[in-house]
Symmetry: C2
Subunit: 419 residues, 2 copies
């Protein structure tokens, strides 16, 4: 392929979810020596990623990212940010970013599948997560659309534009519903995400809160959104002896409290099941600003949180719930209808915001699909995630069974994951 023809899907280290920085700082400070492996997991087995994406394009795109560094302007921006908290990034961490280059990848093609993994220092490897996903996602759709005629392409984009604008028009009718873009990792493309964000910014006023994509926040003057994710409890629980594992799921929260103030204190309870997380949680967790909900039914999980808050005699109306699991307009409306009078809500709208091309062409491969890039190993211990949805479980079978015994399975169920 001629270099002039090929444009790498991710062209800046700022084109990454903001939570990689907020988590990254904690990881850099408290776990500088932990070695981890992150691995691409295509949950949707009907999507033959390895067959569709040309291997040379994938290597070239990942190599391109490995050559990137943060610019002086990038660092000034992160350093000068005082949205969530003043001087939220410490000088040492900014120095770490200044010289950071992303660690090597390991790519093996196995028939219709690809094995893609990253091994190295946790704070470095962690940065690959949403970048690797955005690379895979965009290369996949480019390949799927490669054989389309100019006419077909125009129609696909015209329909996708229409589709997104109608979603936003529908949301305008429910002014209490607010949302942020959480769709970098599974976007149709960089440019499409930028277009979607531009449309939301122009149409939605106060209903559009911000974006998880740091580059988009930087470039389009939006609030960067993000706090923490499953990887923190997954690693810290893996490193803990079995007897301490239940307690270790709260260790990220303790470190978070040392690092960030109330604005960024949003916990994610579902790594080993939301029910046991809340049942075993220390009281200080009830003082946190809110909860992100990322698996199982958002309304039932919301009620679980609300009831738990009432147990601590805390008014749920003082708290924030951030649903972020495969949302679209209808689910956002339902959550608002069911929970909006009881608790503050703000949605993290992902793939179906930045990548809903369903029905724009007869090619069924042009749909969003479920994939993640998860930590699978930390210092030679396997990392496990149960979640509230058994279809989102990751880890080796026997370890999963062991974890189920340690954490219990109350409140876990199974539902098909689409995105």
């Amino acid at each position: 392929m001629n270099a002039a023809e090929f444009s790498a899907p991710v062209r800046s280290l700022m084109d990454i979810d903001f939570y990689k920085f907020t988590m990254g700082q904690v990881i850099w400070q408290y776990y500088p020596d932990v070695e981890v492996t992150f691995k691409l997991i295509i949950r949707d087995k009907d999507i033959p990623v390895g067959e569709i994406i040309p291997e040379d394009q994938l290597r070239e795109s990942l190599d391109y990212v490995r050559d990137l560094t943060f610019s002086r302007t990038d660092i000034y921006y992160l350093r000068g940010m005082n949205l969530h908290q003043d001087y939220m990034f410490k000088e040492g961490y900014l120095d770490f970013l200044r010289t950071l280059k992303l660690p090597p990848y390991r790519l093996v093609r196995k028939g219709k599948e690809i094995e893609l993994s990253f091994t190295g220092k946790w704070a470095e490897v962690s940065m690959w997560e949403t970048i690797a996903l955005a690379v895979i996602s965009e290369l996949y759709y480019r390949a799927v659309m490669k054989t389309m005629s100019k006419h077909e392409l125009e129609l696909v984009y015209a329909r996708a534009m229409d589709k997104l604008s109608r979603k936003l028009e529908e949301l305008q009718k429910f002014p209490r519903i607010t949302f942020s873009d959480f769709g970098q990792r599974r976007r149709h493309s960089f440019l499409w995400q930028e277009w979607a964000i531009g449309l939301a910014k122009s149409m939605m006023g106060e209903q559009f809160i911000g974006t998880s994509n740091t580059w988009m926040a930087f470039r389009h003057d939006l609030s960067p959104i993000g706090t923490n994710a499953h990887e923190m409890p997954m690693v810290l629980v893996a490193l803990a002896p079995d007897k301490d594992k239940v307690d270790a799921q709260y260790e990220p929260l303790r470190l978070w409290e040392k690092t960030y103030n109330q604005s960024l204190r949003i916990f994610l309870p579902d790594t080993y099941g939301t029910k046991q997380f809340l049942d075993n949680a220390p009281e200080c967790v009830a003082a946190w600003r809110g909860m992100r909900q990322d698996s199982n039914d958002p309304v039932s999980r919301g009620r679980m949180y609300i009831n738990w808050l009432r147990k601590w005699e805390i008014d749920p109306k003082s708290k924030l719930m951030i649903p972020s699991d495969g949302l679209d307009v209808e689910s956002m409306k339902r959550i608002d209808r069911e929970l909006g009078d009881e608790i503050n809500l703000s949605d993290g709208w992902g793939s179906l915001f930045t990548n809903d091309f369903r029905g724009t062409s007869s090619n069924l491969l042009l749909r969003p699909f479920s994939m993640v890039c998860k930590v699978v190993r930390a210092n030679d211990f396997p990392c496990i995630k149960l979640s509230d949805n058994l279809d989102k479980v990751t880890g080796p079978k026997e370890e999963i069974e062991r974890y189920k015994k340690i954490f219990g399975v109350e409140g876990l169920s199974s539902s098909r994951v689409y995105v």
Copy 2:
């Protein structure tokens, strides 16, 4: 004119010389109540700006600027900057910028001339200086080139590109010569300045130090360059009673020392003549990092500084001189040859970097011309600048004569100002 056809020359408040922020902070802090008037002065009487620039375009461009505000990203960038000094901008000043809108302008067309002035709070009006100049400059060249054919335009730009690249190639032969772009205010256009900066960045390596244009520094990851200028002594001397005027020229330096550290301590001695400035200067000025030279012969002024440093038993090799008066390659080479063994040099290269279209067409109006936007009044006192070049003097005649008596005229001479 159709709005879709017209693009305002200045489209961001960051498209401004960086010294407007460093000075602005001092002005905001120490002189919040001073009212000033800045006025456009076209020194080159052969350039009929008022005849050439369409008044509606000028009004539209200035109105466009008045609608601009600093974005969140702009503020984060300024806030996070730690190039010259850590947290160089105070929260109060950043708050001031956050809500700043530029004050009104007064525009009167008088035949071939235009009268353009700005009156209001000093810290606000001051921001107009390089913005107003950049607007005038670009609208002027657009108008001059309006009747050129596509073919002519292509040739003009091809020749200007060739010209600049040859200048840079020549400078590559003198690796000791370093320079910054100081050319926002009299640029051919925004896009041309951006092109020139891109070329310098790609060709000049360590010889290209940075740019005085904050937007360009931000966007192209360069060092923003700038410290202080004539307006500070001009206002403070105007406000002082006659018996204190000589001392008042050092007041900006005293405030500067309270605000900025060594990296930004570059003094500009020529507001009322370099000779008397150095003769009367307190010893602490000799400790400053260096001197900017902005009028009269750079070599003679450089020697004046060197001899003065020796009087204080300071090694000139520990100091920096920044020539910034109408430089081009030959003068940069001469300054380097004559002074480069004795003192550190770094050039501020302005109009002939961002606007040298001489010889690219038969239209003689396509040359750089000398104009400034100067403070002319502060709290009802006229503001005077003598400089080391009597052709750069600004102020009413009788006041100039009075100032000459107060400051003396030793070392002042006259030489034609081209840019």
